[in-house]
């Protein structure tokens, strides 16, 4: 049963496959012939097009040393081509992506606090300063607004900086530069200057980090015209999105999550780049569309396990692209299931979920059988106490309840 569903998912998913910029691969059906020819010397994994069926993760955060496979990520039907894979943690995947891009293009540089000698506060840039030098992996003083502006100036004059905010919350200090310069300069200069920066960093609610270190900035940045926002959730998409963001000519804000850095997964040895504007089908289903991103994906998958046992068949989509929304994938799903549940870590007011609700209602109103339900974090500054913090964020039990209500 599961295999069939997966298979359907794979087929349905291969429609989008031509957007995947995999080297020498286009849509799965086109390349089928080539696929076997390419791999004829290698081991064909059962000839099946299905994705690797890996157990659902119960913990959103894999503790260090846990070997549970991190994701049930929807790799495209042709992931089986990636025979050679290696296991990485998410922060290592980010580093790999960054390292590959830095090798490929000498104008890619990194700047941020403690990215150089310290290796990054979450070790994403570990080893890069030794490899590329102190100027290419620049340790900045604690001046977010100014070094973000510096990155923007460098981008305008030909470099491709990757600016790290040690915690996304610190980028509030850089809001001036991000909104006024990053987002606007391409437009106000009449297209004369482009700003190919990547602004990245960990955000989200962690383990009792306190209110200020637990902020979700995607809701504040989403209105800025001229930027793109993506959120990674698995090592596979982290590396792919990092590479895509660096190669993109637009300014991209890449949201990582503090609790996801130690997720482990086997990712392809081959180089791959993902699309910044596309959503990821995590689990195809029939009854309800659950839209989520970042850490909440794992809460959703945990809830999905429970739901499956109760006989529901949720379709889980990791929207990945927070701005712009991939209305095609989302729309197709809505047209199929007619029920939408949004699960996010953003606050209720003015969050990503709010925008998504509006977008879906505007575009797919006729296809909805029930009002869209949006589960977000409470509109409170994240408390320190563990219990309170737990109740701030959406938990799997709430997701299960919401689906049950929605599907009545």
């Amino acid at each position: 049963m599961a295999a069939t569903i997966q298979g359907i998912g794979a087929t349905a998913y291969s429609v989008n496959s031509d957007r995947f910029q995999l080297p020498s691969l286009r849509s799965f059906s086109e390349s089928k012939g080539r696929f076997f020819a390419l791999r004829s010397e290698g081991k064909v994994i059962g000839g099946s097009r299905g994705r690797n069926v890996s157990p659902l993760v119960t913990n959103a955060v894999a503790a260090k040393g846990e070997s549970a496979t991190a994701s049930t990520s929807a790799k495209p039907g042709f992931n089986v081509l990636f025979l050679l894979r290696h296991e990485v943690l998410l922060f290592e995947a980010l580093r790999e992506g960054l390292d590959e891009e830095m090798m490929r293009d000498p104008s890619v540089c990194v700047m941020g606090e403690d990215v150089g000698h310290y290796g990054g506060s979450y070790k994403v840039t570990k080893g890069l300063a030794e490899k590329y030098g102190d100027l290419r992996v620049l340790d900045t003083p604690i001046a977010e607004n100014s070094f973000t502006g510096m990155g923007i100036g460098a981008a305008m004059t030909g470099l491709r900086p990757v600016i790290e905010g040690m915690n996304m919350g610190f980028l509030l200090l850089a809001f001036n530069q991000i909104s006024n310069n990053c987002g606007m300069l391409h437009y106000t200069s009449g297209g004369q200057f482009k700003i190919p920066v990547v602004i990245r960093g960990p955000g989200g609610v962690g383990r009792q980090l306190g209110a200020e270190h637990s902020q979700r900035l995607e809701s504040y940045f989403q209105s800025i015209p001229g930027i793109q926002m993506v959120a990674c959730s698995t090592p596979y998409n982290a590396k792919g999105l990092m590479k895509a963001a660096i190669r993109c000519e637009n300014p991209v804000i890449l949201f990582e999550h503090v609790l996801l850095y130690n997720l482990k997964e086997r990712i392809p040895d081959e180089e791959y780049v993902l699309s910044l504007e596309e959503a990821e089908m995590v689990r195809p289903g029939e009854h309800v569309t659950i839209l989520t991103y970042s850490r909440m994906r794992y809460h959703v998958m945990q809830a999905a396990k429970t739901l499956v046992n109760k006989g529901y068949d949720p379709e889980v989509i990791d929207i990945r692209s927070l701005k712009p929304f991939d209305l095609y994938t989302i729309g197709n799903s809505v047209k199929k299931t007619h029920r939408v549940l949004i699960v996010e870590e953003c606050m209720r007011t003015g969050g990503i979920g709010a925008s998504l609700t509006a977008a879906i209602t505007e575009n797919f109103h006729d296809y909805l059988d029930a009002p869209i339900v949006c589960l977000s974090s409470q509109d409170v500054p994240t408390p320190y106490a563990g219990t309170l913090e737990e109740w701030t964020v959406v938990q799997p039990a709430q997701i299960v309840t919401a689906v049950e209500q929605l599907c009545k």
Partner: protein
């Protein structure tokens, strides 16, 4: 008043740092213009140079060096310098030595009084001979033409604004032309300029055609930014004018980034002959802003090829610089971060040019940034919407008497670098240029609707994927500007 024969400001090796007590006199004394001892002492400034910590191209052999040498603070007595009441400009001259680049400041140079006195005695003779060599005829006429262009253009802007051809916030540069001309005319094409909202004349000096600037002001599609930027956002990638920023202080980090690219190109990308310099222009109000200080720190830390030019026109809209700033001597803030701070008379284009020459070549050599404070004045209000009621008419008259264009004209005629007729011809030519520009702008088309959504993204795929599966930018209505995004 300007003391005649005051030598051009120059840069020196580290010299004595006035002790803290002397460099920060009590506020009452600061405002007393006759009080001399501490400002003169400030001729002694320490240049805190730092070991170069950039490992170019990945060599990991150098262990991380400490990023700052201990400051060598030396107390010196205040009576060393002879003070002249007329020298209220707190000029920072120190014995002019040729500035040699060195990376360690292990030996501080003491400015000894007797040297300074000798220097002062030498000054009158030195200056007359020096200023004769300061400029050739071609250069003089070029400077004159540039300043006249700036003035005529801004006057025309005012006219056009009151006739309803342009709207919004327009900030005019009348009176400050010496700073723009003095600095920007020394730049090469690949050098970058970053400005503020008072950027028309910076754009013109950098080479952006008057037609493009005025069309931009009129909001026409032939403007330098296709009409999308306006008065406060002048950009030109051809001329390396990186803007045009509406919020003060915003441009300084961008300038720092451009300087960073220059250093990066030279050291990481190994383009040895690449040594572009960036100039960041901003006002006195900006010098109380955090971005200013943060960038001074970073620029000095990494020895970026940048010059921070403060156009101190004493007023930030209606806020007097003295009312807003604890220590109004902005040039003094440079040494606090490890770079020379220089004060120059911003109404005298030749003095500005001399200082600029030194600062720019310092940056180009790789010796790091400089903070130059140009004392200048804007003859008009902050913007065309400013009634300009707060400023004392006597102050305005005083500065009007020091009009940089009149001063240069007098200089040219006195030194026989040009004739009255030649200068008149220049003025006539400029008038024609400006008129032609206005005509051009008048006849240019307004932006069509299809331009609305262009240029939001460098890669318009950023608008995302629509419900039909296609990228939004592929929608034919997108180019019409009517697509729903």
């Amino acid at each position: 008043m300007i003391k005649p024969g005051q030598p051009p400001q120059c840069f020196s090796r580290p010299s004595v740092l006035s002790s803290l007590s002397l460099s920060n006199p009590p506020p009452s004394q600061k405002k007393d213009k006759k009080k001399m001892s501490s400002p003169i002492l400030s001729g002694a400034k320490i240049l805190q140079t730092l070991p170069i910590n950039s490992n170019a191209g990945g060599s990991a052999s150098d262990p991380p060096k400490p990023l700052s040498d201990p400051l060598l603070l030396l107390k010196s007595k205040s009576s060393l310098f002879r003070s002249s009441p007329k020298l209220r400009r707190f000029s920072s001259y120190s014995p002019c030595r040729s500035f040699s680049s060195s990376s360690s400041s292990s030996s501080a140079v003491f400015a000894v009084s007797s040297d300074v006195v000798k220097e002062e005695k030498k000054k009158p003779k030195l200056s007359t001979s020096v200023s004769d060599l300061l400029i050739t005829k071609e250069e003089a006429l070029e400077l004159y033409e540039d300043m006249v262009l700036g003035r005529a253009f801004e006057d025309m802007c005012a006219q056009m604004y009151y006739r309803g051809k342009m709207f919004g916030f327009v900030h005019l540069y009348n009176g400050q032309e010496a700073v723009s001309t003095g600095f920007i005319k020394l730049l090469k094409k690949e050098d970058c300029v970053v400005s503020t909202y008072r950027d028309h004349v910076h754009a013109l000096s950098k080479g952006v055609p008057a037609r493009a600037v005025i069309s931009e002001l009129f909001g026409k599609t032939t403007g330098c930014c296709r009409g999308q930027g306006g008065s406060m956002h002048m950009f030109s990638s051809d001329h390396n004018l990186l803007g045009g920023f509406a919020f003060i202080g915003e441009g300084i980090p961008v300038a720092t980034g451009a300087a960073f690219t220059s250093k990066y190109r030279r050291e990481v990308l190994k383009k040895a002959d690449y040594n572009s310099v960036t100039l960041a222009f901003f006002g006195d109000g900006t010098c109380n802003n955090g971005q200013f200080f943060e960038c001074l720190n970073m620029a000095a830390l990494w020895k970026l090829p940048i010059v921070f030019v403060v156009e101190n026109n004493l007023w930030a809209i209606g806020m007097s610089h003295l009312r807003a700033t604890s220590d109004p001597e902005i040039w003094k803030k440079g040494p606090a971060f490890g770079m020379p701070g220089v004060h120059v008379d911003g109404m005298d284009v030749l003095k500005v040019r001399e200082v600029a020459r030194e600062a720019i070549s310092r940056a180009r050599r790789g010796d790091g940034p400089t903070l130059v404070e140009c004392e200048t004045y804007r003859f008009r209000g902050h913007s065309l919407a400013d009634p300009d009621e707060l400023r004392d008419p006597a102050e305005k008259a005083r500065y009007a008497a020091r009009d940089p264009i009149t001063a240069l004209k007098k200089y040219i005629l006195d030194k026989k670098l040009g004739t009255e007729a030649e200068l008149k011809a220049i003025e006539k030519r400029i008038d024609e240029v400006v008129e032609d520009a206005v005509e051009f702008a008048d006849e240019s088309p307004l932006p069509p609707r299809s331009q609305l959504l262009e240029n939001v993204f460098a890669d318009p795929k950023g608008f995302g994927i629509g419900p039909d599966g296609k990228y939004r930018c592929e929608d034919p209505k997108f180019t019409e500007g009517t697509a729903h995004v």
